[in-house]
Amino acid sequence: MKRKNADHEANQSLLSRRALVVGGLQLVLVGALAARMRHLQINEADQFRTLAEENRIKFKLIPPERGEVFDRNGVQLAQNIPNYQIKMVREDTRDVEAVIARLSKIIDLDDQTIERAVALIKRSAPFYPVTIAEDVTWEDISRVSVNAPALPGVTPEVGLSRVYPLGSDFAHILGYVGPVSDYDLKKINDPDPLLRISRFQIGKVGVEAKEEIRLRGSAGNKQIEVNAAGREMRELRRREGKPGANIQLTIDSKLQNYLQARLDGESASAVVIDCETGDLVAIGSAPTYDPNLFVSGISVADYRELTDNKFRPLASKAVQGTYPPGSTFKMITAMAALEEGIIGPDDTVRCNGHLEVADRKFHCWKRSGHGSVDLKNSLKRSCDVYYYDLALKVGIEKISAMANVFGLGVRHNVEMSAVARGLTPTKAWKNRVHGKDWVIGDTVNASIGQGNMLASPLQLAVMTARLATGREVTPRLVKSVDGVEQASGAGGPLKVDQNNLKKMRKAMFAVVNDRGGTANKSRITIENMRMAGKTGTSQVRNISAAERRTGVIRNEDLPWERRDHALFVDFAPADNPKYAVAVIVEHGGSGSTAAAPIARDITLQALYNGPPPLEAYPSKDRGRIRSQQKRLAKMRPMAKTQDADKT
């Protein structure tokens, strides 16, 4: 027993020693924990506090309302209209399928929409409102509101969407907006954080794209506290953004509507410019398309239809299409010769139907020739040989320089997409681009606006306005931004002899109003509204020697793509020019029959600010014109019907 006690004592003291060792070890570890806690909470507190704030606070952008676009009379061309949407929040809905099934009994939902919505809801965060249906009618919205108790988590909401009420009439001018793409981001190098918002709408083409910065406005932002799942808990601070500027265009929507209607059915374009101010009153291109289709995303089939169309509806031919100006260029060749003093207006040239230059025959369009022609006659009857002769004397450099004076070969500053520069060839240009020397035949071709010479309808309209006024008229599309009037395009006097210009105008007057003028059929018969102009028919093919022998094939017998372009430029009233107009009908045949009537109708419409009286037309046309006016008055632009009209 004694030994046992001793043993027991020894054991107890060993246990006590070991217990103290273990206890001491525990104390050391607790000390380490305390030290670590001190390190994290005291020494590094600031750093962790910052990290915690970064966790907690997020910035959220408040997108500004996009600026609206108006025509010169205040008619709305691009607007933001409320877009009623039906959204669903998963965590409030619980049984998503059942609620959607109930919803589809109340409003019209196709199976595809339902399927897509259900998939999206399951993917999204439980508190994220998923859009089930967009562009629903007000009636549907009220139905959903009335049935709210049966539809937990379903809320009607209102967003803004871009609408172009005049649709296809302004497709080429305004363009359209669409959700920002990676491609856009790469291209524009714009640090605006708004562009990082998924599906943020930016201008893709036209005024919408060119005036993007002003239309967009600047973003506001709010500081919100979020939880770990990203749910907004409360708003800490808010700074409102600035809405985009409203833009007023120089276009007159009524005239624009007429112009588009008049061009309908052709592959054509036309420009109406105010000679006094340079205001572009109408710019049209046909065929056209409904830009509203692009806003919410165009279907593949619709898009394919637009891109596969050989008449290129997506192209804004009036500013981006370039064509050989043909005989409408003759005023420039004549002006160059007059300015150089090489010919006087009464000097004549003999036209035998062709001119032989460097062993090559250059034909006049009239095989039998015009006989002896002076300036006025040459323009009136559009004699080619007269201009061949002038060109040989004055040279290509002078002609090209004169073309530039009149706004050809110059990229005009118009807020539309892909505004073309055209081409006024020079010797240096040919050498640089083609690596070949200029030959005299090139000069001969250029003199009548063929060969390398290229101009857009816009440029031809500017040229005509400059001819009409003698001032350096520049085109203007944006009239005012948020009520601030933009610089006028009236311009100063052109650096040419105004007397020479007067002679040109007289000759152009003769083209339309003299018996035997190429555009005489398309004259205006009211005295103080008379029009001056010039026809043009530009070849898109080379007439081969074989063809010459067997006789030139008539235009109407050729396939469409190889027919001549029909052109016409004019200004009116001839004695006090108000509007200049340029019309090009692609592969339309002759300028006098295909383009001049269109130009005359548009000019009259502009002059009378509406349908002109029938007395303005030659008496034998009046019956036809009356029915045409009736037909055109009924034409309305293509525009996706709006929600308000649906119900």
């Binding site: 027991h8 070991r18 909470q41 590094e44 962790f48 506090r49 915690a52 770990a228």
Partner: protein, 379 residues
């Protein structure tokens, strides 16, 4: 020494025993539990549901359980320790076979009224059984190889079963607690030196075996180790927990953000904020002062236990109290070290504070044994 040698007469009897319970210890346990209620109320956004109220009920049950066990003679528990151990091992086998899946591991048996986690219970019954073993074993035999191998087998059997679940954290805790008892019982230190040396060897082997055919750990376990070594490498994935936990802790500063004002926990950046990571909420809202206070209370509990064990002349009682204290220490220190980013994330709750029924009841049961040993100590 057997229970016959007890000087039973001098020990309190009947309901008087309640007066002889260690009331300071009870008070300390209650204050820790109250910290728990407070934090559970806070992480629920100022609400007793869903956590604080059930936790209070459980603690009340736990207190009654503790007192009931505390007034039961310690020799009763010693005699029962082998049976308890056996039952727990059977439960562990059962959980491997029919247990409920949770977070990729089978840990629970659904008893209907509560979900029992046998691995929690094992921590206590293992200590009981080892204490009883060394009470029974003549002291001179304690360092003989055979008598050392036996307790090692006693430890490794449940450990192996827990690893099966798989629950690496708890199995390591079992080994550490069991080893602790062996050390306290006086097993020669050379054994421990050998074990530590081979442990280091094992760690090397674990890393060497990675991505070979004899890979020793599961991929998720390796992943946890990687995450521990560099949490910032995967801040939104596996490292998310520890990164957010450190941010919450660190942003608490000296005095914290204020009760119910911790953005990290209030905005759900903290994972498992009501269970394993509850200490971070405490440290975020009450700062260094709050964290160190809780640590101090824990330390006091350990101190009371060690003091009680040292004055207790009953070998089983001493070993049992020290073993339970060691377990308790491992509980809170591993949890704290984990949330502070000192050790990898292992699923160990903060004792008496984290929400959870099994751990709470098992701990109160264990402290009931401590109370029993304290009340029935030889006088």
């Amino acid at each position: 020494m057997s229970y016959l040698e007890y000087t039973v007469k001098s020990t309190p009897t009947g309901l008087r025993k309640i007066l002889f319970l260690s009331w300071p210890l009870t008070l300390l346990l209650s204050s820790v539990a109250c910290v728990g209620f407070l934090m559970l109320y806070s992480v629920a956004g100022g609400s007793f549901t869903p956590w604080a109220e059930p936790q209070m009920k459980r603690f009340a049950v736990g207190l009654i359980l503790m007192i009931a066990i505390g007034v039961t003679p310690i020799w009763f528990w010693r005699n029962l320790s082998g049976f308890c151990y056996g039952v727990t091992v059977i439960l562990l086998v059962a959980v491997d076979l029919f247990g409920e899946e949770g977070k990729g591991a089978q840990r629970w048996i659904d008893l209907g009224f509560m979900r029992l986690q046998p691995s929690e219970l094992m921590k206590i019954t293992l200590v009981m059984f080892l204490a009883a073993y060394y009470d029974w074993l003549p002291p001179e035999k304690k360092s003989r190889p055979l008598w050392v191998l036996l307790p090692i087998a006693i430890i490794l059997l449940p450990t192996a079963l827990v690893i099966q679940q798989p629950d690496l954290g708890t199995s390591l805790l079992l080994v550490m607690a069991g080893g602790g008892i062996m050390f306290l019982a006086g097993v020669h230190w050379a054994y421990f030196a050998a074990v530590i040396a081979s442990g280091v060897g094992l760690i090397v082997a674990v890393f060497q075996s990675r991505e070979t055919s004899w890979q020793l750990l599961n991929n998720y376990q390796y992943h946890r180790i990687d995450t521990f070594i560099d949490p910032s490498a995967d801040p939104l994935g596996a490292g998310y927990h520890i990164t957010q936990s450190k941010i919450a802790l660190g942003s608490g500063g000296w005095t914290g953000r204020g009760f119910m004002q911790g953005p990290q926990s209030r905005l759900n950046f903290l994972p498992e904020k009501h269970t394993d990571f509850i200490f971070t909420t405490l440290a975020e809202e009450f700062g260094f002062v709050g964290g160190i206070s809780l640590l101090a209370i824990y330390l006091l509990i350990i101190f009371f236990c060690i003091a009680s064990a040292l004055v207790n002349r009953d070998r089983f009682s001493s070993l049992l109290i020290l073993g339970i204290a060691l377990n308790f220490f491992l509980f809170f220190s591993v949890n704290m070290a984990m949330v502070m980013g000192l050790i990898p994330v292992v699923g160990v709750p903060l004792p008496l504070v984290s929400y959870g029924g099994s751990a709470m009841l098992v701990l109160m049961l264990a402290f009931g044994l401590v109370q029993s040993a304290h009340v029935h100590r030889p006088r």
